[in-house]
């Protein structure tokens, strides 16, 4: 058990680290201007100067993958933050206070939950118009229920725990009990959930930008790159495959990490 | 009937390897009740499990042999062993409730051994099982037969376990702290039940407990385990009335002290 855990941990950590590092470096410098078009290198296959090759505009795919990865990372992160934050509050209220408030909120929760996130996002986007911000918002909302449910059950678990009871006896304020006494105990679960949530968010974002809702061209987005280059799959498979692989590795890295979080 | 000869077992999942039990010798003859005492972690249960062949992969039997009717259980294949356990040797555990499959009617669990070891028709099995449930003094057995574990009390579950263990009329019953999880009044009945079976079936019993009174109550011989080693063994009288080893003295002393 122990040995295995460490191994996975390492691999996942290294993978995620490398990817994040690449993306961060990408913020400051990419081999080429990701939007620079160059008729000469249209569809040029992977080579030393273009390690991932070029797309239908002769733009360097590697550079675009880095930039696209940044967007994906951003969306994933923000989504989780939104979901976690509101989920936390919702869960805390419902779990800790309980009663009718709980009933109502959880019903609402169920309503949202009984609606697949991707569809929710789809409707939401056609409502607000496509752009990165709205994608984050849409996914964030779609992610709240899952967080809320988990936090809620955790709170219910802890609300009768001895240390909470004693705190109550000591006339500690509700809010204080919530955040000082209970929260810390919930953190590990939250972290694990967040990690999983992040992966789902990344998957969802990729899916949405594949459908062409999300980041606006010419700015790169992994999903959009794939959908746009699917037409050229037989001539220039690299256009679709490298962005795809990047996503896979990204998710793999983080999920392996979250694994180890889970186990603790 | 059962001969455990200088058996040594170690745990290999940790580094360094931790000792389980060391050079233990036990022998049980027909109709004999042997008690094994010792504090938790002294290797009582481990011994029992090794006899049943239920120890996990990372636990290794390094030396010694376990002879049952002069057949070394450590030599034979898992398949052959499965023919023996539950049939000639059976076992009852502590925490009866969790030892029953929550999703299976207790009746089915009682008659399972028959299904595995004897070739009987479904109905015969059911009859037998109900008979057994009556023998363990469960009220209206044929109703209990269709109940699920969570619908029964701890005591009832333990009776069910005993029924399941006895249904093939084993030659040896291993009882691993069968009463510890139960409250005192029920303990008595369960013990009575076991000793009755012991009489009627004239089977050997290996009774594991940390409770001397219980041992005293039903055992002929007793083996005292301490940190995986046999510190003392002999008839109940000898061991309890004039213990030789320090540890035993302490053990008995406390008890006597208590009784005064």
């Amino acid at each position: 058990m122990h040995k295995k855990k460490l191994k996975i941990n390492k691999f996942g950590a290294i993978l995620s680290f490398v990817i994040v590092l690449m993306i961060i470096i990408g913020i400051f410098a990419t081999p080429y201007d990701p939007n620079k078009m160059d008729a000469a290198s249209k569809f040029s296959a992977p080579s030393i100067n273009h390690i991932f090759g070029c797309d239908q505009f002769g733009r360097d795919i590697f550079s675009r993958v880095l930039v696209g990865g940044r967007t994906t990372l951003l969306v994933g992160g923000c989504t989780v933050l939104i979901g976690a934050f509101f989920g936390m509050i919702l869960g805390a209220i419902t779990g800790f206070i309980g009663g009718i408030v709980d009933e109502i909120l959880m019903r609402i929760n169920d309503v949202v939950a009984s609606f697949p996130s991707i569809l929710l996002a789809l409707v939401f986007i056609s409502l607000l118009g496509p752009n990165t911000g709205n994608v984050i918002l849409a996914l964030g909302i779609a992610f709240i229920p899952s967080f809320a449910r988990i936090v809620r059950s955790e709170f219910i678990k802890y609300k009768d725990a001895d240390f909470v009871k004693s705190a109550k006896l000591m006339k500690v304020g509700k809010i204080r009990i919530l955040f000082v006494h209970i929260m810390p105990n919930i953190m590990p679960t939250m972290l694990a959930t967040a990690a999983i949530g992040f992966n789902n968010a990344v998957l969802a974002e990729a899916g949405m930008s594949y459908l062409g809702i999300g980041v606006m061209p010419p700015d790169a987005s992994l999903g959009r790159m794939m959908s746009e280059s699917q037409a050229y799959l037989s001539v220039a498979p690299w256009c679709a495959i490298f962005p795809g692989l990047f996503i896979v590795l990204m998710i793999l890295g983080f999920s392996l990490l979250s694994e180890s979080l889970n186990r603790k | 009937m059962l001969e455990v000869k200088n058996l040594s077992i170690n745990f290999y999942d940790t580094t360094p390897v931790t000792k389980g039990i060391e050079n233990i010798n036990i022998s049980i003859c027909e109709g004999e009740t042997v008690g094994i005492v010792g504090e938790s972690g002294s290797g009582k249960t481990l011994t029992a499990l090794s006899i049943m062949g239920l120890i996990e992969d990372h636990v290794k039997i390094d030396s010694g042999e376990i002879l049952f009717n002069n057949k070394n259980l450590l030599q034979i294949s898992a398949k052959e062993r499965r023919k023996i356990i539950g049939n000639d040797i059976s076992m009852i555990f502590q925490e009866p409730i969790s030892s029953l499959n929550p999703l299976m009617k207790v009746g089915k669990q009682v008659e399972e051994s028959l299904k595995l070891h004897k070739n009987m028709t479904k109905d015969d099995r059911k009859k037998e099982a109900i008979k057994m449930l009556e023998l363990v003094k469960l009220p209206d057995a044929n109703i209990i037969y269709d109940k699920y574990p969570h619908e029964l009390s701890g005591g009832m579950c333990q009776r069910v376990m005993i029924a399941a263990a006895m249904i093939c009329h084993p030659k040896l019953l291993i009882a691993d702290e069968p009463t510890t999880a139960l409250d005192v009044t029920i303990q008595k009945n369960i013990l009575k039940l076991i000793s009755e079976f012991h009489e009627t079936e004239n089977m050997g019993v290996m009774f594991i407990s940390h409770d001397l009174r219980v041992i005293r109550y039903i055992c002929d011989k007793v083996i005292v385990l301490y940190k995986g080693k046999v510190v003392e063994s002999g008839t109940v009288e000898d061991v309890f009335n004039n213990p030789k080893e320090e540890y035993t003295k302490k053990l008995v002393g406390i008890k006597n002290g208590k009784r005064k």
């Binding site: 992966n199 | 929550p102 399972e112 595995l116």
Partner: protein, 314 residues
């Protein structure tokens, strides 16, 4: 009984809320069916004429209520873009998507259970670790990327199927299933991996349980221990996941149908949103919601069937 009533009540309320929100959304988003139909030849009065014709000029609530009335009466309305009854339009499409969903689900069950049992049995052996890692890998592949890969490898390279082709049931039933197989598999694989993961850990939990040891002490074989004892217990926490999976599969059809250009419900939904074909979108979304909610009830009931300890009242 009380349970059923309660749940049905919830179902109704949920549907009301969802339908209302969708309706509201369609009032806010720019564009309407009339415009989409008329296109660039349109002049203002033409558009108004058509709006009138399509009843788009009526006030919001009266429109919602009239729609609701119709819907309750089993009339899903008319598709603005195709000018045919919505029922007629979507029934066929759902057929396709449901077929895919079922195929995918069967795939998931067929593969995830044996693999999970095997890996749980071989826990921490090399083979287990390898499979577990591959499992993680497959979990990380977005369904549509898998779709692209499948197209590239089996469609373009080995030419064992024709990318982008779809054969309708009427044309050739066998081909129909054959061509839906690839998208189904693309959807199924990541879910299968997830299923393996959950079931495996659940099984490993069961391994430690005392009743397993007791069962062994009766001389049960490994096969019986895993098959009769552990699996049944281990499946319980996985049921919910399976229910969610079905929902996800239907939702993901939106994307996967795009990859394989399958004219299923997902494709229809996207195009209907684009054409502001309200009645169609509304119907699809509600049906999907119903499916999801009903799935959840079925799971509750399954729990009850499998686990005698569960009591539906609470």
């Amino acid at each position: 009984m009380k349970y059923i009533l309660k749940k049905t009540g919830f179902l109704v309320i949920t549907l009301l809320v969802i339908s209302f929100i969708t309706f509201l959304a369609f009032n806010i988003i720019p564009g309407d069916a009339a415009l989409s139909k008329l296109g660039t030849e349109a002049t203002v009065d033409q558009v108004n004429m058509l709006r009138e014709e399509l009843g788009l000029n009526a006030p919001f609530f009266s429109r919602y209520l009239s729609w609701l009335g119709g819907f309750i009466g089993g009339d899903f309305g008319i598709s603005f873009s195709y000018m045919i009854p919505v029922k007629e339009l979507i029934s066929g499409k759902f057929m396709i998507t449901i077929t895919m969903t079922i195929m995918a689900f069967v795939f998931i069950i067929l593969f995830s259970i044996p693999i999970a049992v095997f890996t749980a049995y071989k826990e921490n052996k090399i083979v287990d670790r390898v499979i577990t890692f591959l499992n993680q890998l497959f979990m990380s592949i977005p369904g549509f990327f898998l779709g692209i890969l499948i197209t590239f490898i089996f469609g373009l390279t080995f030419k064992i199927f024709m990318p982008g082709a779809y054969i309708s049931m009427q044309e050739n039933i066998g081909q129909y299933f054959y061509y839906l197989l690839f998208p189904s598999v693309a959807m199924a694989i990541p879910k299968t991996a997830m299923g393996v993961k959950i079931l495996r850990s659940s099984l490993i939990e069961e391994k430690k349980k005392r009743y397993v040891r007791a069962a062994r002490s009766r001389g049960n074989s490994n096969l019986r221990i895993y098959g009769v004892y552990m699996l049944k217990n281990a499946v319980i926490p996985v049921l919910t996941f399976w229910a969610m999976t079905i929902a996800d599969l239907i939702a993901n059809s939106v994307i996967i149908e795009r990859v394989f250009s399958i004219p299923g419900i997902g494709t229809l939904l996207v195009s209907s949103i684009a054409n502001r074909d309200f009645a169609v979108v509304q119907a699809i979304i509600i049906i999907i919601a119903v499916i999801i909610i009903v799935m959840n009830y079925l799971v509750d009931l399954l729990y009850k069937i499998i686990d005698p300890r569960i009591d539906l009242k609470n």
